[in-house]
Amino acid sequence: MSTVGVPLIRLEHIAKSYDLGEVTVHALRDISLTINEGEFVALMGPSGSGKSTLMNVLAFLDSPTQGSYQFSGTNIESFDEEYLADLRNTVIGFVFQQFHLLPRTTALDNVRLPMQYAGVKKAEQIERAQAAIEKVGLGSRMYHKPNELSGGQQQRVSIARALVNNPKVLFCDEPTGNLDSKTSVEVMNILSALHTEGKTIIMVTHEHDIAEFAQRTIHIKDGEII
């Protein structure tokens, strides 16, 4: 899909509004934005600014009401549920503030989850999951369950899970929001390393020192880029 010179993500006049009967809430108003392959972008803004909605649209979790979205040169016209699920599975990875690991399930099995939806064979699943876990420095914690891992370790498992299908973009929603400052730095160092390797990363945060890890910061307020 990727072609030299074509931006990875191009949004043109994207708007998202929610019709709540009497009032219409405009979560996003006329957003145009380009993100190139290999960029590390931070989306910043106060709560209610629309940064989460923007990320949901970018990450194929939500569909815009207006505007066009080109991903890797392909126009995302159909927002058919099954098509979006497939995109979420194969071209993007997700890192959440609350980690969202399956409880009572080993780190290895958590990391295997996206590959199960991709129909990867079991032996390959295990091989790739082990490699991803080792990459985030948790090789010795492969068979630990989330409740046996610290917050920072859990977030690293979730990064491994996001990486395992080798996505084009890593979306991180407040990745350090539930971590103390020391582990925050550890997690951000992993993300920086991934960026150095060429991974495109889009991160939502409201902390300036976390945003500083990114190359570029996009500020959003009231549904618009400022």
Binding site: E82, R88, T90, F96, L102, P114, Y117
Partner: protein, 414 residues
């Protein structure tokens, strides 16, 4: 995602909430268990009955006055006399009649050494033994001479013999009293479970002796049961019709009267009657079990809705990393089906265990009946299928609900 992954996930969820899963499955377990129990026990009883009937000889017609026209004897009811039987035997209409035996029964008390036993004393002729395949384990059966001489001799069953004399051999030539009249035991029969009277052990004495010693004077010469053995290969329906024609003629009965005057059944039709009753019981139990399955199914639906609520975040996560609606739906549907199928399997195991113990207990109570346990594989398969189907039906709504969750909202759900 492949189905086997869903099955593994479902099994893991099941073991996480063992107690809850078990309680949820209870309705299914009880429903399936009772159906398996009643079908297995019914089949055991049917097999037993078939083996008994074939032991008796199936080419036997049993005829008894119903009493609908009045009591069996006197009061204007149908009275069948030994002369009527003789006429039947000689009838040119009935060339396929091989043997005939008229019985007259009397209730009595058998006494030996001060021990008393309630017995049904049946007055019979020697044909009664051959028609029923009754063979003596000790001594002999009754003979024509016994009947001619109105001998005070009696043939008893093994169980009674063992009770009073420790063994069949010991019983022969012992003297007992039946209703204070002295009789000599001349033979002991192998016990025939279904041959036993409801009012105690059956003992056989010569028909003429019963008339003389026990029957009220107006009953002398009458019989209450007629057994007719017909030739193998006889058309039973035609044979019955011809018997009716003859009885009508001999007893001066109208067309309406003949139909209600007698209960007439060949032994194969006993099986039909039993089958009808069995199907009735099985249908009733299945209906009750059906209610239990519906209630169980609602329980499953309820717990699946709770599960979907509890695992909203998990569903959100799965969708965020690539699960589509149908995958989520399949996952929860399989969980419901696994839940009910395991419930069904437990029910099958429980039902089989119960019926096995029922057979064991029956064998302890009646050791010589030789009741054997039978498997009904179709019932087991159908039961598991029904259990799975209940899961499918009642799991559909919760699974659908799970699949329709928006990933964004599901991830935010607290």
């Amino acid at each position: 995602m492949m189905v086997h992954v869903h099955i593994l996930t479902a099994l893991r969820q099941l073991t996480i909430n063992k107690g809850r899963s078990l309680l949820t499955m209870l309705g299914i377990i009880i429903g399936i268990g009772s159906v398996i129990f009643i079908i297995t026990v019914g089949e055991v009883a049917k097999n037993f009955l078939i083996s008994q009937i074939s032991q008796f000889g199936t080419n036997v017609l049993e005829i008894s006055p119903t009493g609908e026209l009045g009591p069996v004897s006197g009061d204007g009811g149908v009275v069948v006399r030994t002369s009527t039987l003789q006429a039947l035997e000689d009838s040119p209409l009935l060339p396929d009649l091989e043997a005939l035996s008229g019985w007259y029964g009397a209730q009595g008390t058998l006494e030996y050494n001060g021990e008393q036993e309630g017995v049904s004393a049946f007055g019979v002729e020697k044909e009664a033994f051959s028609i029923n395949n009754f063979t003596p384990v000790a001594g002999r059966v009754l003979s024509d001479a016994d009947v001619l001489q109105e001998s005070r001799v009696v043939v008893i069953g093994t169980q009674l013999a063992e009770k009073l004399f420790d063994s069949a051999q010991n019983a022969v030539h012992k003297e007992v009293k039946i209703n204070s009249v002295r009789f000599e035991i001349v033979g002991v029969l192998e016990d025939v479970p279904l041959g036993g009277g409801f009012l105690g052990e059956t003992v056989y004495v010569p028909l003429s002796t019963v008339y003389r010693e026990f029957a009220p004077s107006e009953d002398v010469g009458t019989v209450s049961v007629i057994l007719i053995q017909f030739a193998q290969g006889t058309n039973v329906a035609s044979f019955k019709e011809r018997i009716k024609v003859e009885l009508k003629r001999l007893l001066y009965l109208s067309d309406e009267e003949i139909d209600s005057a007698f209960f007439m059944a060949d032994r194969a039709s006993f099986l039909d009657i039993f089958n009808t009753i069995l199907i009735g019981i099985q249908a009733f139990v299945s209906a009750v079990a059906g209610i239990s399955l519906v209630v169980g199914g609602i329980g499953i639906m309820n717990i699946m809705l709770v599960t979907v609520k509890e695992r909203t975040k998990e569903i959100g996560l799965r969708k965020a990393i690539g699960a589509n609606n149908s995958s989520v739906r399949t996952q929860f549907l399989i969980e419901a089906i696994i839940l009910t199928t395991i419930g069904g399997l437990i029910g099958v195991a429980g039902g089989l265990t119960l019926s096995f113990f029922a057979v064991v207990i029956a064998n302890v109570l009646q050791p010589d009946w030789g009741i054997t346990f039978v498997f009904v594989p179709q019932a087991i398969l159908i039961a598991c299928g029904v259990a799975g189907f209940v899961g499918l039906v009642f799991g559909l709504y919760p699974a659908f609900k799970a699949s329709r969750l928006s990933p964004i909202e599901a991830l935010r759900y607290e």
